[in-house]
Symmetry: C2
DNA sequence: GTTTTTTCATGATAAATGTCATATATTTTA
DNA sequence: TAAAATATATGACATTTATCATGAAAAAAC
């Protein structure tokens, strides 16, 4: 287990001066509730937002941090984790391009309940709390979309609890592999999953020991359900994986 | 496993005529986001709401149901469950007096993702979708409270996923027992938990087989962590249960 | 009040999963 | 590029957990 310092404060300063990207021209906002903002609101956000790059493995924010705004993912995947008392991580959720992070903490005026860590090099915009909450209270269309987004997360999480309650490890692994494809898609060339998790991360998402996860991947390979090419995982028999996961 | 018909439609009609309870005088609303409603809004809700009783074991609404409003619990506990593909239930959440049910489905305009079942005789008010959404879009104070409530549920559910990911069954059982006390309190006379779950329900909340749950309860009894008096569970050594659960 | 059904409890056993050890492959660092 | 560190893989084994069987206790139905 390694500890990596947060470097994004430095990055955000050095990069923002170079990055004159205007929110009103940014396509990414179409993927989130930000699409409900008015032209004026977007102009203000353009001036108050900061942009920064995060390297693979770097922490964006940690459990317990006081977030002063929300993070809009322009590019890259990240994991949202919770640390167990016995020192083990649980991956609660994965986020991708277009997703907003930190909404719950801002609305509830609480510290973050999750840690966000980049799974690959990322490009992120930071939108200050002040503007977010201003538009949240004044722009009804925006607040409705934000709330709907949170509602969807809630539905996913409740599904997650149910999945972890009575399914076997193998069922959950199958389910996670399909979820990874759904979320991140596949490489058009070799059909491998675009989201590359370490075996440890995969185990922390499935809820099992790393060795058990590796073993079950090997089993699935022998059963021709998947193919393993180094870090690459290819879902060979998706319908059977689907059957297995249910 | 038994199937129980929903009878509350009948109940609601027969009872509503007798029940002239006015929302503006109801103390229960102080426990939920309904406290943000104006006097005028409350008067309208009084006229449109219906009140009904639900008997222990009866289903209030089921996974997949189209909810036409939200349910405000005036009295009693209920469980919110999700049915697994292999026919096993997971208890995702418990709700009590003052809680609102069905908010997520109404806001997202989706069918319910959970089934609500009474754990004891309950008294419930039903508030139609139309009024809820009207106030949600027009009364900012109300919508903020609703959203905060959903945010709290999300935080709880994410905690739930993490708990299920790497904790042992015994750790989770200890955690559930403490949660039951926190949520429902104890009988002042014998200090037993007010929320009485069957062993099967307890197992479905912990995420284990009923027999394993019973066995672990026996173990905890032998270790003087708890006391078992019929259906009554008394938490004897709470600090040790707390240690165990973490 | 008796019968029937359901819930609770426990033993025996099987199956699933976790842990520790070790080897190899891969990546990172110097 | 070589050395060090980390990630992946697999075997051996311990532990946990699930399943099946059975009986007792409690609750529900008659």
């Amino acid at each position: 287990m390694t500890f990596i310092m947060k470097k994004h404060y430095l990055c955000s300063i050095s990069l923002n001066s170079q990055n004159m990207g205007r929110c009103e021209q940014c396509i990414i906002r179409e993927f989130s509730s930000l699409k409900a903002l008015t032209r004026e609101e977007l102009l203000t956000i353009s001036d108050t937002k900061t942009h920064f790059l995060v390297k693979k493995g770097e922490v964006i924010f940690s459990e317990g941090d006081n977030l002063n705004g929300v993070y809009c993912i322009k590019e890259g995947f990240c994991k949202l984790t919770k640390l167990n008392a016995n020192g083990k991580d649980s991956i609660v959720k994965l986020s991708k391009r277009g997703d907003l992070l930190g909404q719950r903490s801002i609305i509830n005026e609480e510290t973050s309940n999750l840690t966000a860590t980049a799974l690959e090099d990322m490009s992120i915009c930071f939108i200050p709390k002040k503007e977010m909450m201003e538009y949240f209270t004044e722009n009804n269309k925006f607040s409705l979309l934000v709330t709907k987004d949170i509602c969807n997360h809630l539905k996913d999480s409740d599904k997650g609890i149910a999945d972890h309650t009575h399914k076997t490890v193998k069922q959950r692994l199958a389910s996670v592999l399909l979820k990874l494809e759904e979320l991140g898609g596949t490489n058009p060339e070799n059909k491998a999953l675009n989201i590359q998790l370490s075996r440890e991360d995969l185990a922390n998402m499935v809820g099992t020991a790393t060795e058990s996860c590796i073993r079950l991947l090997s089993d699935m390979k022998k059963e021709s359900l998947i193919q393993l090419l180094g870090k690459n995982i290819i879902l060979v028999n998706k319908s059977e994986l689907k059957n297995l996961s249910e």
